[in-house]
């Protein structure tokens, strides 16, 4: 029987960990779209999962070529959303790594940082607009509705989550850059 789960992740490492835990419990991910995951029963730990930030949007021809190449390497794309792709591979006991050199990791990290910064600024603009509209209504018209503070709170949580993920990626990027100065891969 298939299991459908709605869950939001900002941190792809935690997302991968969760998918791996589900796989260990005999639940293999078969569909992914943004915050929607569908699992079906499988042998425990039959697959290994990776969440990959694609250089281009998932529908871009370059991304299609890349995912096709991965498929030729027996890496299956379970689903995509915007820049993200959830990939899986049959568990053969070998570690499942997509990027194994610092150059590729740094490039991917930079792209992801850029994307999160744009998303952060966009959400921040919406937050400020929402807060301004709420305060304007309250002070000018004397209207007070619980809807506005609730919306502001939800958007604030989004903004904090995105900001946190951006900071985490920046730290990872700096660590890769430091290590690259000494080691090759």
């Amino acid at each position: 029987m298939r299991t459908s789960i709605w869950k939001a992740y900002y941190n792809e490492e935690k997302e991968e960990q969760w998918l791996q835990e589900m796989a260990a419990q005999g639940q293999a991910l078969i569909h992914y779209k943004w915050v929607h995951y569908v699992f079906e029963p499988s042998k425990p730990s039959e697959y290994l999962y990776r969440v990959e930030f694609l250089e281009h949007m998932a529908y871009h021809p370059e991304s299609r070529l890349y995912l096709q190449f991965l498929e030729d390497m027996d890496i299956e794309c379970v689903g995509t959303w915007m820049h993200w792709a959830v990939l899986r591979k049959k568990n053969s006991g070998e570690p499942f790594q997509i990027l194994t050199d610092y150059d590729s990791r740094i490039r991917q990290c930079r792209k992801a940082c850029h994307w999160y910064m744009v998303f952060f600024l966009f959400e921040l603009a919406i937050l400020l607009l929402e807060a301004w509209v709420g305060l304007y209504d309250y002070f000018v018209y004397g209207d007070f509705s619980l809807v506005f503070p609730l919306c502001v709170l939800i958007i604030l949580l989004f903004v904090l989550g995105i900001g946190n993920q951006y900071r985490r990626l920046r730290r990872t990027l700096k660590r890769y850059q430091r290590e690259k100065a000494i080691f090759e891969a």
């Binding site: 890349y66 030729d72 997509i98 990027l99 194994t100 050199d101 150059d103 590729s104 490039r107 891969a185």
Partner: protein
């Protein structure tokens, strides 16, 4: 041919990819060959390999050798420029090795 200004150190991955392509191979074959040549020490991720293959094709160090029969997997093989890059890298590695040997002799 690579310009002299491009004669920097090759990464281990690129060096082994070039060596592996003395015979036409597809992506999975390259990964296996590299792992075999390095005694399992160098393991290329699929994403890293994809980026490296595209860059090497752009530089003219490798080229597409079509696809195997009954397979859509694209194969690659090394070009004369790629062979030259290997030779330059071997010279560079030899220089590093010689410097290390001198250091060892001085210490003993």
């Amino acid at each position: 041919m690579p310009e002299s200004s491009e004669r920097g150190a090759l990464t281990e991955g690129v060096y082994y990819i070039l060596l592996s392509l003395c015979q036409p191979l597809h992506g999975y074959g390259i990964m296996q060959k590299v792992s075999e040549m390095s005694g399992g020490r160098v393991s290329l991720g699929a994403g890293t390999l994809y980026g490296a293959l595209n860059t090497l094709v752009e530089k003219g160090w490798i080229q597409s050798a079509g696809s195997q029969e009954n397979s859509r997997k694209k194969e690659y093989c090394i070009t004369a420029a790629g062979q030259q890059a290997i030779l330059w890298e071997m010279e560079r590695l030899q220089e590093l090795l010689d410097a290390g040997e001198t250091f060892r002799e001085e210490k003993t």
